[in-house]
């Protein structure tokens, strides 16, 4: 078949919402875009382990310690699914990791912010996972099969995390004055970065249109962001803490909340590398990888020895 027919068939599948599978023909750009998007997502899970891991040893109760550990472990698991989905597109996990460590590949900028109090474990679950779910649920219907299936598993666990995070916030907000202050402080620090998680405004977003056509993006950044604000405001009210945006108010006409201008300078600055923890996060991952080199080599060497012995026997 010539390229033209292949393309037609591919587009037909996309139009009919038939999943593209690894062995199917696909346009090179589709493949590349998917690798970028899925690996970025995988990296976000892995880097995203770090800010929360920071509070496991200091969790205030054994129950919370176990929950925090299980949550971060889930994130590692999500990383695994997503790296595997990426590998079906013909690229090795090792290459993906090297791209992360060199700074070539990106991850969600939200993880360049530090976790400064226990309340951040609540705020991350509530807001960051909440925003992530909003981004991800539509991707359970992504056109690429392995990606869509990975997202189904991810989303199920994420919504559990989100409820858990909200419950941490709720406990704090019902607690002492200091605990409530802790919750408010966390909301103050995580609110705007969470809004930034949906990416640049639609008018500045470069990939959106093509990705929507390919069915690997289902809603625009601004649509999802609006949805997030609409969902979060009543939750903050329920908690009894205040979203740090004086322009946030219900717009009867639009049927949505209006909200203030995002500090896009900060957004692009953090993406550029100038966030509070960019260097620290990438260094931590690179160190884990580099310090683990001898372990991976040993495992490979032993596996080979074992295989030889079995062959000989």
């Amino acid at each position: 078949m010539d390229i033209k027919s292949l393309e037609d068939r591919f587009n037909e599948k996309i139009d009919k919402d038939i999943r593209i599978e690894p062995k199917d023909w696909m346009p090179e750009n589709y493949r590349k875009t998917l690798i970028r998007q899925i690996s970025q997502h995988a990296h976000s899970e892995i880097v995203g382990m770090l800010p929360e891991a920071n509070w496991i040893t200091r969790a205030p109760s054994l129950r919370r310690k176990a929950a925090a550990l299980a949550k971060v472990q889930d994130e590692a698991g999500h990383g695994l699914y997503l790296y595997s989905a990426c590998e079906t597109l013909g690229i090795e996990r090792d290459q993906l990791l090297q791209d992360l460590h060199s700074g070539k590949a990106k991850y969600s900028s939200i993880f360049n912010y530090p976790t400064l109090t226990w309340a951040d474990m609540g705020a991350i679950g509530w807001l960051v996972d909440g925003a992530a779910i909003m981004n991800q649920v539509p991707l359970c219907r992504a056109s690429y099969g392995p990606y869509a299936r990975a997202m189904v598993r991810v989303c199920k666990e994420e919504s559990f995390h989100q409820r858990q995070g909200f419950e941490i916030m709720l406990t704090l907000c019902r607690g002492s004055e200091e605990q409530k202050k802790m919750a408010q402080d966390a909301l103050n620090r995580w609110w705007w970065p969470s809004l930034m998680m949906f990416g640049p405004q639609d008018k500045d977003s470069t990939h959106t249109e093509q990705s929507m056509r390919w069915g690997i993006k289902r809603f625009t950044n601004d649509e999802l962001r609006q949805k997030f604000v609409d969902v979060s405001k009543p939750q903050a009210d329920l908690l009894g803490i205040t979203i740090p945006d004086k322009d946030l108010k219900w717009n009867e006409e639009r049927g949505h909340y209006d909200f203030g201008e995002i500090n896009w300078e900060e957004f692009f600055n953090v993406i550029k590398g100038n966030g509070p923890c960019n260097k620290q996060r990438v260094d931590a991952r690179r160190n884990a990888y580099d310090n683990g080199a001898w372990v991976r080599e040993a495992a490979a060497a032993h596996a080979e020895k074992k295989a030889k012995k079995q062959q000989a026997a």
């Binding site: 607690g175 605990q179 495992a299």
Partner: protein, 251 residues
């Protein structure tokens, strides 16, 4: 207090599980291989789950209305009864593996034998924990073999880990007064019998790993009676920070 000796016995196992779980949790996000990061979190989770069962029972025996978290947060190092092995630093992956292996070869047999405890609660904790310990010892044993019989570097690192930790191995199977009494009263485990099984397992795995079993029988001890190494204080200052900084709150 219903039974001081039983309380001490329970507490010493609770503390060992907690501190080892805490140490393993320090690896979270920093493991050498993503799959092993997950494995360490898994074991850490099991240990924390186990210590909760132990602490809950300890709280009942103590009968002062304390929660598991109060028992954890408001004791200084000298009231902790964990073995010194578990408070040793993670070091490199080889050291973490060998520390785990030394603990797992103990705990798998400990729980196996504790299933026959005349104390039903202990038997129940043992039943649940034994299954987990079987998986743990499989994991750490496999890694001892893989690293010992891997590359020259990994072999050397395993040797260094053994050198670092061997002298903390013996405390696990050397009964203190609490354990002797617990065995005599029929709810504790016979550590002499356990030691035989464990020594055989250690020898088996180290041999397969092309590593030597050290000859030294000198062992650090005292952890089970509250005498620790200098590491424990630092572990507790993080572990207890929030409860101490904001006492009496729900979290």
């Amino acid at each position: 207090m219903k039974d001081q000796n039983l309380y001490n016995y329970v507490l010493q196992h609770a503390d060992s599980s907690l501190i080892l779980g805490q140490r393993l949790a320090e690896w979270c996000g920093h493991g050498p291989i993503l799959e092993q990061d997950i494995a360490m979190s898994n074991i850490s989770l099991d240990l924390i789950g186990q210590c909760r069962m132990w602490y809950q029972y300890a709280a009942e025996i103590q009968d002062e209305g304390k929660s598991e978290d109060e028992i954890v947060a408001f004791r200084d190092a000298w009231d902790y009864r964990n073995v010194q092995l578990v408070e040793q630093p993670n070091g490199d992956f080889a050291q973490t593996i060998f520390r785990q292996f030394l603990f797992d070869t103990y705990s798998v047999h400990f729980y196996e034998m504790l299933i026959n405890s005349k104390d039903e609660r202990l038997a129940a904790i043992a039943g649940k924990s034994h299954k987990e310990a079987l998986y743990h010892v499989k994991w750490s044993g496999d890694w001892v073999i893989r690293l010992g019989d891997g590359t020259e570097e990994s072999h050397d690192r395993m040797k260094a880990a053994i050198d670092e930790l061997w002298s903390y191995s013996g405390e696990l199977t050397k009964p203190n007064e609490t354990e002797t009494k617990a065995f005599e009263e029929g709810y504790g485990v016979n550590l002499a019998a356990l030691k035989e099984k464990r020594d055989a397992k250690i020898r088996e795995i180290l041999t397969e790993a092309t590593l030597e079993v050290p000859e030294s029988t000198y062992t650090h001890e005292g952890g089970k009676d509250g005498r620790h190494t200098e590491h424990l204080g630092y572990i507790l200052s993080d572990l207890q920070f929030l409860q101490r900084a904001y006492p009496g709150q729900e979290w």
